[in-house]
Subunit: 114 residues, 2 copies
DNA sequence: TCACAATACTTTGCGACGCTACATATGGAG
DNA sequence: CTCCATATGTAGCGTCGCAAAGTATTGTGA
């Protein structure tokens, strides 16, 4: 929860899709990927991630398969074609949004992506 | 509404405070400043901005004064000391947040600085 | 003169969604 | 045997952006 309020509103979908882009992952792993990939900043609770994954599946952006590993049932999610397209749109939207906000907030430091 | 969904969730306060930082403005002017300062990307409806300004005033982050210009009543808002402090926190939060999201969304194009 | 746009502010109510809290189940470490 | 990490799930709450509708004044064009 390193982020105070829910600044995430509306951005969670994009993040989940992005995390699944390199390859399928199950919910718990997704949460860890988000934490790792954001250097600990984004530590989303299960009550946020699982419902969001269900939502994305209902929307047809991801698909899921159950599997059992070491006696534990896990549900592995993967991007669909529509999901890949949606991710592209989310990225474009994020760029536009972040540029606009950064411009208005002014003096703030700029993100230095890879 | 150039932004489709409400990606703004949680970021509106920061934007309003930032717009008021250079000097007092009334609500209608705030909306235009946001549009101008974001190159047209952020075109917030009155139903978003006015309630948000009331909220910020209740929270003690801004203050307001009524004035009449050319027969029109307008309410001019200005930052309080607490508002200035809050703006600083919002900026820090935005930096952290945007860096994290940009890192996760990866390959996306980089924001072009002012 | 009359209609309409722009300026300027307000409020009701809906809907979306992140989060807290709680519930369930297994495997491994101490 | 207990505790923690792994792994998934749901109910309910609260926040807040937004559409929509309303009020009032000034300026403009037909």
């Amino acid at each position: 929860m390193a982020m105070r309020p829910e600044l995430l509103k509306g951005h969670v979908d994009a993040l989940l899709l992005a995390v699944l882009e390199p390859g399928p992952q199950h919910g718990y792993a997704v949460i860890e990927s988000l934490r790792a990939g954001s250097n600990g900043t984004l530590d989303l609770p299960t009550g946020t991630v699982y419902p969001a994954l269900h939502r994305l599946e209902r929307a047809g952006l991801i698909g899921s398969d159950w599997e059992t590993v070491g006696g534990r049932r896990r549900r592995t999610y993967h991007l669909t074609t529509a999901g890949r397209a949606a991710l592209g749109e989310h990225r474009a939207l994020w760029d536009e949004f972040s540029i606009a906000v950064s411009a208005l907030l002014g003096g703030g430091t700029k993100p230095a992506p890879a």
